[in-house]
């Protein structure tokens, strides 16, 4: 054996190793003491601190979002419902590399660049750690399946089910029911933040906004034990939320749809009111938008298309103010009768213009054949829409008389119950001009005001309201979209706020109604000028099944220069706005209506037929006959005819086709200033 032999001092070696072992042992012991000191510090000195911390990790108080109240129309058709929707969510803390996870998601389901940007901003704005942010809304079942299969590649990603607002009628009720959208910080300041602690959306427009507190309900709470992944392990305590109350509206989806259809491709608005309650039967503004787009966050592209400067689908025309044109004439006539400025028999000679000082104001007839209406009384001034008559009246009556009387009809203010966003319109007076412009009133401005031009502006809602008052002889009801909240009906109307309109001789109501009925009927003679201005377009082709009253209006958008060549095609944006107000049946009014057609050019021929279609849709049954519920116990046929001086209605039917020929379409379209 060639093992190297070393001489070793075993005693010394033992001493060396032993001393080192002792030194090491002592060091080890002190290090263990250091550990104990650390543990003592954590477990005794800081025990309270860490105890609290441990509980706060573990026990979470969670809000339980109340179920939002549903919205129905008056017939029980669902207008706003809550449907389950699946949302893909992400918890950053569990996702690790967010970019990578989002890439994987994008490889499984469609994810636009915009979606990705939104994820980034949502993650940045998120304040609570370990809370989830939405990645994509509205997953299809196939997408859910794809996510589930690849779940192992998607840490921190989950599919959450929640109730999402849905508007089954889409565009049709966009401007009346409104929509829900994400709560902004400003909106959160305006509500009780506790009640909204779990709510991400709030009513942005329309009924959803006005009745937000009723629809929302009261938040509930649960105390839960959660693990670090945010999964609920145990529910310790629970206070149930109080669901929001359902709301039944006065709106009638049938008439609402009929109004949308009747407007066709025109931009415009329709407001219909029940004269027996003030309930708003229809509130339409076209073009509209799909409110569902807003619920889950509208895409930039969709939003851009909604901001088209001409179409402006987000703009609610039903509540916006426009020059009302000749639709104010029945109300001004009533004011003249009531104030004693005119009797029904007083006449004015209309040569086709009205001379005020050096300035000639031309009537709409002047532009077609350089003549006027001739001698006109009040009734003819209404059904033939004679401007000269009202210009003459304007000089006698003045602006303040008109203001005071029309104010009682709701012009110049917003009296609606639940449409606070509606414009008040403008009802000018001397005082108003002094206050707003610091200028005194000029007589020429009175001239304009008496034919619904100049400063005078009204909303379709105001005109429908005023028409309602005309139909029910001054009985005020506050226009309201809401009919019932939950099981309670709407509160009793406070008549001190809006006193009923009393006039000196109640027969004047009938007189004006009769004049308005003549607008859609044949007049005394055979000459076209004695027809109601809207008769050829409304009742000539197909006789009415009920007694309809109406008034057209055509309002200038810009001042037309005297030498303007009216034969030229007018650019659309300069075309006049068309109006038609109406109520029916005259003997038993069930609906009051205002139709507004933006740049529609002619009240009688464009807005008039739209109004009739809507009335038909509401009043007639499937066979095209007046619904039984709307038939008024007739006094007698003879009375009707003698009163209305209507020559053989039935016999007119046969000759109806001739009538448009005597009033050529193009002529009418061009000759429409203040018709």
């Amino acid at each position: 054996m060639a093992e190297k032999i070393t001489i070793q001092d075993h005693q010394l070696e033992r001493q060396i190793v032993l001393s080192r072992i002792i030194v090491g042992g002592v060091i080890a012991f002190f290090l263990i003491l250091a550990l104990i000191a650390r543990l003592f510090f954590l477990q005794v000195n800081q025990h309270d601190y860490y105890s609290t911390k441990s509980d706060s990790y573990r026990i979470h108080v969670q809000p339980i979002v109340p179920t939002r109240g549903l919205i129905y129309d008056r017939n029980g058709t669902l207008l706003a419902e809550n449907v389950p929707s699946f949302t893909l969510t992400l918890v950053r803390e569990h996702a690790g590399d967010v970019e990578k996870v989002v890439d994987v998601i994008a490889s499984l389901i469609s994810l636009t660049e915009e979606d990705r940007e939104k994820i980034g901003s949502r993650l940045k704005n998120r304040s609570i750690p370990y809370s989830s942010v939405p990645v994509r809304f509205n997953l299809s079942e196939e997408e859910i399946a794809r996510i589930s299969v690849n779940q192992f590649r998607l840490p921190g990603v989950s599919v959450e089910a929640q109730l999402v607002r849905h508007y089954p009628e889409g565009e049709i009720f966009a401007h009346s029911v409104g929509y829900l959208g994400s709560i902004t910080e400003d909106e959160l300041k305006a509500v009780d933040p506790v009640n909204y602690s779990g709510t991400h959306q709030i009513g942005k427009q329309g009924i959803e906004r006005f009745y937000e507190d009723i629809l929302h309900g009261q938040v509930g709470y649960q105390t839960v034990e959660k693990n670090a992944r945010g999964q609920i392990m145990n529910v310790l305590d629970r206070t149930d939320p109080v669901p929001g109350q359902d709301i039944v509206l006065n709106l009638d989806s049938k008439i609402q749809k009929a109004a949308v259809e009747a407007l066709g491709d025109y931009r415009g608005a329709v407001v219909a009111i029940d004269p027996e309650s003030g309930g708003i039967l229809a509130l339409v503004s076209k073009p509209a938008y799909d409110p569902n787009l807003f619920v889950e966050g509208i895409s930039r592209k969709d939003y851009a298309s909604l901001n088209d400067p001409v179409e402006t689908p987000l703009f609610n025309r039903a509540l916006a103010k426009y020059a009302p044109g000749s639709t104010v004439k029945p109300f001004i006539s009533l004011a003249a009768l009531n104030g004693g400025y005119r009797t029904p028999e007083d006449t004015v000679y209309d040569p086709g213009y009205y001379q005020l000082g050096n300035h000639k104001h031309y009537d709409w007839t002047w532009w077609s054949n350089k003549t006027g209406h001739g001698t006109v009384d009040m009734q003819r001034a209404i059904y033939q829409s004679c401007n000269v008559y009202f210009w003459d009246l304007a000089m006698d009556m003045g602006i303040d008389q008109m203001h005071d009387f029309l104010f009682r009809f709701g012009f110049g203010r917003n009296v609606s119950l639940d449409l606070p966003q509606a414009s008040t319109g403008t009802l000018p007076s001397r005082e108003w001009k002094l206050n707003t412009m610091g200028e005194s009133w000029y007589p020429g401005e009175t001239i304009n005001s008496y034919v619904g031009q100049g400063y005078t502006e009204a909303t379709p809602l105001q005109l429908a309201t005023a028409t309602m008052l005309m139909s029910n002889k001054g009985k005020w009801y506050r226009p309201a979209v809401m009919k019932k909240i939950g099981t309670h009906s709407s509160p009793e109307f406070d008549s001190t706020f809006l006193p009923d309109i009393e006039i000196n001789n109640p027969d004047y109501w009938d007189f004006i109604a009769e004049s308005m009925e003549m607008v859609v009927n044949r007049g005394y003679g055979g000459e076209y000028r004695t027809y109601g201005s809207a008769y050829p377009y409304i009742a000539a082709a197909e006789p009415l099944k009920y007694r309809m009253a109406g008034k057209s209006g055509t309002a200038q958008v810009i001042a037309i220069p005297e030498n303007y060549d009216r034969a030229d095609e007018v650019p659309e944006k300069y075309r006049e706005h068309a109006w038609f107000i109406s109520f029916a049946p005259v003997d038993n009014p069930k609906i009051a209506l205002a139709v507004f057609v933006e740049h529609g050019e002619a009240g009688s021929s464009v807005a008039g037929p739209i109004a009739r279609n809507i009335l038909d849709a509401y009043l007639l049954d499937e066979q095209g006959e007046l619904k039984a519920e709307f038939i008024f116990p007739q006094i007698s046929e003879e009375d009707d005819e003698s009163e209305l001086t209507m020559p053989e209605k039935e016999s007119v039917v046969g000759s109806a086709s001739e009538i448009p020929e005597s009033l050529p379409e193009e002529k009418v379209n061009l000759v429409t200033v203040n018709q």
């Binding site: 070696e13 072992i21 550990l35 650390r38 543990l39 477990q43 005794v44 025990h47 911390k53 990790y57």
Partner: protein
């Protein structure tokens, strides 16, 4: 002079002479060490049961590993350490060969190439073998030379240490590399290296640490060190573990929340609660008293190990036993220090308690060697 007097006069060498061997000595089992280990293993299983939320399959595997490890320990105890000393150089070469093989043929797990598949054997980490072989080899080297070691011998010992350390560090498995280096360095320290050398080496290390920081440490390692000083700097990243584990420990208080009542771990707030951070579960459920009980068990094992080292009959045994037991202490200290937030987070399991069989198996081999040292050839002098 009676034989008894003779023995007495022989001093420490003869103190066991003539004493009747106990049954434990025949079986080559150190009874106090075995009892302490069994209590620790039992306590560990209790904690693990809670940490795994009563996962039967995990517990089954752990118990199987413990039984295999106990068997291995008893087997190792039967082997005379001199046999190990004789084989040490060959085992070292074999271990090195495996470490080199890992570089070329190893399988990747957890982002590092640490594992090797050999026919007829379960997949294992060659670095685990080195944990046992390196101190064996260095102790064997010194035992053939006079101690305190001369500078030349220290140099060669350092080479023996650095080679496997470097190979493991590039896997990369810095934690294991450092612990293996430490187990070799303990042999040098115990062999009586001049303190001046030790302190000058420490001084150089501390002075060069900024360079180490800049040139060597990776970002995640730097972050772990930063987290030690300010866990809140990245509360949802690297700081999360440490914040959670301190919360678990602190909320346990003196008496703890009771077995199976630890919310931090049971509600999944505590990551790695079954492995490296299991001590936080223990501290939460059993409180300071439970921690003291655990530390007393460790002190008992370390104390018994130091006693065995001190009582060993030759230099090789002393160096080996000392290295094994001090390395064991380092595991305990680094793990508890890391979980309680006084050391940076390094992947070191809590000895005998954390889930994972390999760690227990390696440690038990070490305890088997300790028992062998204590029960073989008590009467022979080198």
């Amino acid at each position: 002079m009676s034989s008894q007097d003779f023995i007495r006069h022989m001093g420490y060498i003869g103190k066991d002479l003539g004493r009747r061997k106990s049954v434990w000595e025949y079986l080559h089992i150190d009874f106090p060490l075995l009892v302490a280990l069994l209590i620790l293993l039992g306590f560990g299983l209790m904690v693990l049961y809670s940490a795994t939320d009563g996962n039967v399959s995990m517990m089954g595997r752990q118990v199987t590993f413990i039984i295999v490890s106990l068997g291995t320990m008893l087997f190792m105890a039967q082997l005379d350490v001199r046999i190990l000393r004789r084989w040490a150089p060959w085992m070292y070469l074999g271990g090195m060969a495996l470490l080199v093989a890992v570089i070329f043929y190893g399988s990747i797990g957890g982002g590092a190439r640490r594992w090797i598949d050999l026919p007829l054997l379960p997949r294992f980490q060659p670095s685990e073998i080195m944990k046992v072989v390196l101190p064996l080899c260095v102790a064997g080297y010194f035992s053939k030379r006079a101690i305190p070691p001369r500078f030349k011998h220290i140099f060669w010992a350092l080479v023996f240490i650095m080679l496997p350390t470097a190979l493991i560090a590039i896997q990369p498995d810095l934690g294991t590399a450092l612990l293996i280096a430490v187990s070799g360095l303990f042999v040098i320290l115990l062999a009586g290296i001049n303190w001046k050398l030790v302190f000058s080496f420490l001084g150089v290390t501390i002075l060069s640490s900024p360079a180490l920081w800049i040139f060597y440490m990776s970002d995640y390692q730097k972050q772990r060190v930063k987290t030690l000083f300010d866990p809140q700097s990245d509360p949802l990243g690297t700081g999360w573990n440490i914040i959670q584990s301190q919360t678990a420990i602190g909320s346990g208080g003196v008496f703890g929340k009771g077995w199976l009542n630890g919310v931090q771990s049971r509600l999944d707030f505590l990551p790695e609660g079954q492995t490296d951070f299991i001590v936080a579960v223990l501290a939460e459920e059993f409180g300071l008293l439970g921690m003291l009980f655990l530390l007393v068990l460790y002190i008992a094992i370390i104390g018994r190990g130091l006693y065995i080292a001190a009582m060993a009959q030759d230099t090789f045994s002393r160096l080996l036993a000392g290295s094994i037991i001090f390395t064991f202490f380092v595991y305990v200290f680094v793990n508890i220090g890391m979980v309680s937030g006084i050391l940076p987070v390094v992947g070191v399991p809590l000895p005998m308690v954390s889930l994972g069989g390999t760690s227990i198996l390696t440690l038990m081999v070490g305890f088997g060697i300790l028992m062998s040292i204590h029960t073989h050839n008590r009467t022979l002098i080198s």
